[in-house]
């Protein structure tokens, strides 16, 4: 094996999206970066993946690291294309997965049912029971476990989940059962709930475990195919996968814990955004990824992205693992504009997506979309559509659709109607930004807005205005942010263990024991990876509340490690840390409240080397005049403005472009509204600010 510790080669980030596979190649020797976009191949994404890399790199042996942000898991969950799997569980609990937490898909209407990923005939019960305090009331009947496993194999199950009551408190029964299943199971796809998530709450733990099993055959097969193909091409570097928490893991771990990739792709984008913004001097940033059907918003405060402890991939499909928090609303470029029976202009939730797409694509849709409004108002160049899939856009058809479906019903001209569509779409996007900022106590004035994806940069000016954000920062390559994030992401492992004890009764040594184990397991995973780390770090956090409260607050603990051993935090330290966190969240503490520790959460991070973003900066020879390619009439406010069009990538560092102006690049259009100025910073980002600000 070659020595990766010293070898500088190419680092490649690959993000497979719904339409395009993005490749980001960083040559560590020369410090140069190149990007490529190829069509995503379906159903097997590995073909597009390999072709994309092949276009950039002739010899895979020169590549030291490939990092992949994948939607294979996300798609398998959303499209319900996981494997046929079985479940072995405690007597009396076979239906937990199907019963959920007694919720419903929508508040109003009482429609819709739910089919869990394991059908009822493949959910088998065995005699066993552990109590909430960890006492084993009924030892597990291993013969029954083996019989159940054999039955599931005979039924054609490709993976199995073992989920026992209260296994977070004492995993002994579940561990014995999982071992017995593994002895006879024909493949490695056995998921046990205490291994995936040793945390109280049976539905969330069972669901996360079952979804892991559901993904295992599919995702590990896909990753195996990729890895063999890479190796077949001469690659002998490290192959890493981005997790939903924004950290990377080894491909081996991804095959074992595929549920951790549920939001892999979008997470990589947020990681890149955080790094780009921080490097450019903006540690507080709100990202907005505008796709065909949705607008995804995420908040980064002080360089750190927000994590959420739990996500529903779809109704009843709960994954309880730390994930980068991404808020989605149904307002994308393909969202359809319409007027309801009460005379109000609505955007979405219906969407034309990218197929058939907006009316202007001429692929069969006749109802106007947000993109059509941008086309009619001259903001998108009809002769050079981004993405390169189409020859030109049909402006007249877009105008007719806007007229028919919005203009006439509201008594507006075509242009007024198109402007109205953008106004309402912008206000919905602004609402999503308010939700993640103002509603969480963050002042938007402090934040920069970073659009990525193809369409976001058309709307940044309007969003600055609506929400009162300080400025916008458009990264140099907004279309490949996720692929770039793959190259940047650190390696990270999260752990959880339910403690459930009053602070007064807390077993400090036992708590330190869990911390020690988490830390050691985390470092072992870092050691097993052949990639280079600049530094390593471990953080510990407790979920705590007062007795009687159900919402916990996250309490960061300062824990010292001496000679590789965790120094147990004292009860007093835990109590103080809680008071501090509680006061920060609610403004006061309760003098008579009884403090309780619910869970320990640990994270072990290996910081990977960062590349110098200035390598992406434009060459020094360009001039503003040289970048200027044309003018075009663009509609702002209530008038057409003759607007300068620039080749964005040709603009030199320091160039300041006053609005109205449009900066174009192959996969993105940046709009600079009247009254705003776009300045190229030394990394090639465009910083958009109010004139005179």
């Amino acid at each position: 094996m070659s020595n990766h510790e010293t070898q500088a080669g190419r680092m490649i980030g690959v993000d497979v999206g719904g339409t395009f596979t993005d490749i980001f190649v960083l040559d560590e020797m020369t410090g140069t970066a190149t990007v490529a976009k190829v069509p995503t191949t379906r159903p097997d994404q590995s073909a597009g993946f390999l072709e994309g890399i092949g276009r950039q790199v002739s010899a895979l042996s020169t590549v030291s690291v490939v990092v992949h942000g994948t939607t294979a898991g996300t798609n398998a969950l959303l499209e319900r294309k996981g494997a046929r799997i079985g479940l072995i569980t405690t007597e009396g609990l076979r239906d937990v997965l199907e019963m959920r937490r007694r919720d419903r898909p929508a508040t109003w209407g009482l429609r819709g049912d739910f089919k869990p990923v394991v059908p009822r005939n493949l959910r088998l019960e065995v005699p066993e029971r552990t109590l909430a305090d960890g006492t084993i009331r009924t030892p597990v009947d291993l013969q029954a476990v083996r019989d159940a496993a054999r039955k599931l194999v005979a039924e054609g199950c490709l993976a199995v989940a073992v989920t026992f009551a209260n296994s977070y408190a004492n995993p002994e029964n579940e561990r014995a059962a999982a071992a017995a299943v593994r002895e006879i199971w024909p493949n490695p796809h056995v998921s046990a709930s205490h291994e995936i998530l040793p945390e109280i709450r049976e539905f969330e733990r069972f669901s996360t475990t079952a979804l892991n099993a559901y993904l295992q055959p599919e995702v590990s097969g896909y990753l195996d195919r990729l890895e063999s193909a890479l190796e077949g091409g001469g690659f002998d570097g490290e192959f890493l996968i981005v997790q939903s928490n924004g950290g990377v893991m080894t491909v081996e771990n991804a095959c074992r814990l595929p549920v951790r990739t549920a939001l892999s792709g979008p997470a990589a984008g947020v990681i890149a955004a955080a790094y780009i913004a921080q490097t450019a001097g903006f540690p507080d940033v709100i990202t907005g990824d505008m796709g065909g059907t949705s607008f995804d918003v995420s908040l980064i405060a002080n360089g750190e992205s927000m994590l959420t402890p739990e996500t529903s991939v779809d109704f009843g499909m709960v994954v309880r693992l730390p994930m980068i928090e991404i808020t989605t609303i149904g307002a994308g470029g393909g969202s359809i504009a319409w007027v309801d029976k009460g005379g109000m202009l609505m955007i979405g939730p219906e969407s034309a997506g990218s197929d058939p797409g907006p009316v202007a694509y001429g692929m069969g849709n006749t109802r106007p979309t947000v993109t059509d409004a941008n086309v009619v108002l001259g903001r998108i160049d009809p002769d050079n559509p981004i993405g390169g899939k189409l020859e030109r856009l049909d402006v007249d058809a877009a105008a007719r659709a806007i007229d028919e479906h919005v203009g006439r019903p509201l008594g507006l001209s075509t242009l007024q109607a198109a402007a109205a569509i953008l106004k309402v779409a912008n206000s919905r996007m602004a609402g999503a930004i308010r939700l993640v900022s103002i509603e969480r106590g963050f002042d938007p004035k402090r934040f920069a807005f970073m659009p990525f994806g193809g369409g976001g940069a058309l709307h940044s000016g309007a969003l600055l205005d609506e929400v009162g954000l300080g400025r916008a920062i458009v990264p140099r390559y907004p279309g490949v942010t996720s692929a770039m994030g793959c190259v940047i992401a650190d390696m990270r492992q999260d752990f959880v263990q339910t403690i459930n004890a009053f602070v007064a009764d807390l077993d400090e040594a036992a708590l330190a024991g869990f911390m020690q184990r988490h830390m050691e397991d985390g470092h072992e995973m870092l050691d097993a990876a052949h990639t280079r780390f600049l530094s390593r770090g471990t953080t510990f956090e407790l979920d705590m509340s007062y007795v009687g409260q159900t919402h916990t607050v996250a309490v960061p603990l300062d824990v010292s490690v001496e000679n590789g051993k965790v120094v147990p935090p004292t009860r007093a330290e835990v109590a103080d840390a809680f008071d501090k966190a509680y006061r920060a969240a609610y403004g006061r503490v309760l003098p008579n409240g009884v403090r309780r520790v619910m869970n320990l959460r640990s994270a072990v991070t290996g910081r990977r080397p960062k590349f110098d973003l200035s390598t992406l900066a434009p060459e020094t020879t360009g001039t503003v005049e040289g970048a200027r390619k044309a003018t075009r009439k663009v509609y702002f406010g209530d008038n057409w403005h003759e607007t300068a069009i620039y080749n964005r990538l040709d603009l030199p560092v320091g160039a300041a472009i006053h609005g109205p102006a449009i900066l174009e690049q192959p996969d993105t259009t940046v709009l600079i509204d009247p009254g705003l100025t776009g300045t190229v910073d030394r990394f090639g980002n465009t910083i958009i600010t109010r004139q005179g600000a």
Partner: protein, 567 residues
Amino acid sequence: MKKSADIDPITLAVLSGRMEQIADEMDATLFRAAFNPIIAEAHDASHGLYHAQSGNTLVQGKSGLPIFVGVMSFAVKAVIDKAAELGELNDGDIFIFNDAHIGGTHLSDMRLVRPYFYEGELFCFLASVGHWHDLGGAVPGNYNPSATDAFQEAFILPPVRLARAGEVNTDIIDILMRNTRLPQSAEGDLNGQLGALDLGVRRMDELLGEYGAGTVSAALEALGDRAETLMRAELSALPDGRWEAVDYLDNDGVSDSALPIKVALEISGDTMVLDFEGTAPRCAGPVNIAFPTAVATAYVAIKHIFPNLPANAGVMRPIDVRIPEGSLLAADFPAPVGGYTETILRMIDVIFSAASGVAPDRIVANAYGTINALSIAGRRSNGKPWVMFSFYGGGHGGSPEGDGLSHGNAPISTATIPPMEILEAAYPVLFRQWALRPGSAGAGKNRGGMGAIYEIEILEENGAEVFLFGERGRFAPKGVTGGGEAALNVFTYEQDDGWHTPPLTSKMHGIRLRQGQVVRLETPGGGGYGRAGERAAEAVAQDVAFGLLSAEEADTQYGSAWRGPRG
């Protein structure tokens, strides 16, 4: 207020989103801050903006409890009347009360109403309602299945000023805190509600500062008009006629006789009448409801039938809800109303049944139809008391699109159930079963969702005492358009001489259990949609294969076609 014609449709669309967001943010603020899980987890609370003169709902948060959407306008109207009586209403006044006969629902719901002034003028009201954990009365938690008047249910507070011109009257807080078994929880909830109102004021100031009071009030008027227009358009599309339905409550918890709930639904042009003539008179026990609750319930049913309509009072303008005087749907003070959930669930059921005659493609069959408030209480060996209180789920009705949802929450609520492991960690109980209940769904082209079985064993050596407030023990949830009935609610408990059922089927208090003894709650599924004969044979066969239906039940309900060509 300005006329709605004064506002352009684009500003309207933008303001509509902004104001909904304010109400949503008030909801979220209380959910985070509340101490008591009924608010924090089950979201039994609501916030909104209400009309300055009429009290009508202008905007309501999306995440609160559905029943409050209609009922809160009565609470605000009560405050408007009180202020008129006092002869003053100041910026910074906050009214507080739980009187259910004035404000609807039950005494557990504490309502805070605050006039919102902009530039010295009353602009609208902001209100916050939340279900407090305990407010005195005979039974902890205030679900007293055999109360015969409101005084036995809880402490009663009429609309009084908690704050006057910004000055908080701490006397009121002292009175409240002395009348609850859980003052710490109550204080936390009260602070959370005050915080939500403060936030609403700040957000309204920002919005009005940005758009001007005239534009915002024009937008509010326009949103009401728009809701009315939408509702009238929906009604016009339906045929004229009159459809009736009747269903029954098992009993009132005091004496064992069935209580009819009856509705006649009449559509004529773009208007609708919902007439509850023929419903049982006021009864002795706590299944009465107050008039505001009845009107609000009609609104909940309408919103479920037309889910895309906005949440404001304009929707109800074309609808005349007639509640007969003297009936249990308009019970006067001090009739007990603690079990209001059961009665309004039955109102929704009969509205759905009647509406299935006119708009079968809009209607789902009856859901499980009971809240099943089950409370298990006792003392630990160290003397400390414990109370495990929760509501339990059942099946939703079959719909035109497919089978009903198994183990859903009640149509009047969006509450989730606590995890079994949290309950087992907090209380000395063990769930022997937490499972779907086979055979509990109503048959149909699209069958109902499955109800559930919860079997709970007492682990505490001192034993425990059990209380249940439920319904549907004698009258099963119905199907629509030819669909079959679901199974009945069945509650059984173990004693030294074997298993028992309560004489009033689903209402009982003070059942003593010893360590190791068990209670079992088997909840109804949902009714079926469409005739059973139209159900696909493969779907029936799958239910049998999944153990959701026995082969015999399948034959009885669906015939033998599911067995395939060989029979």
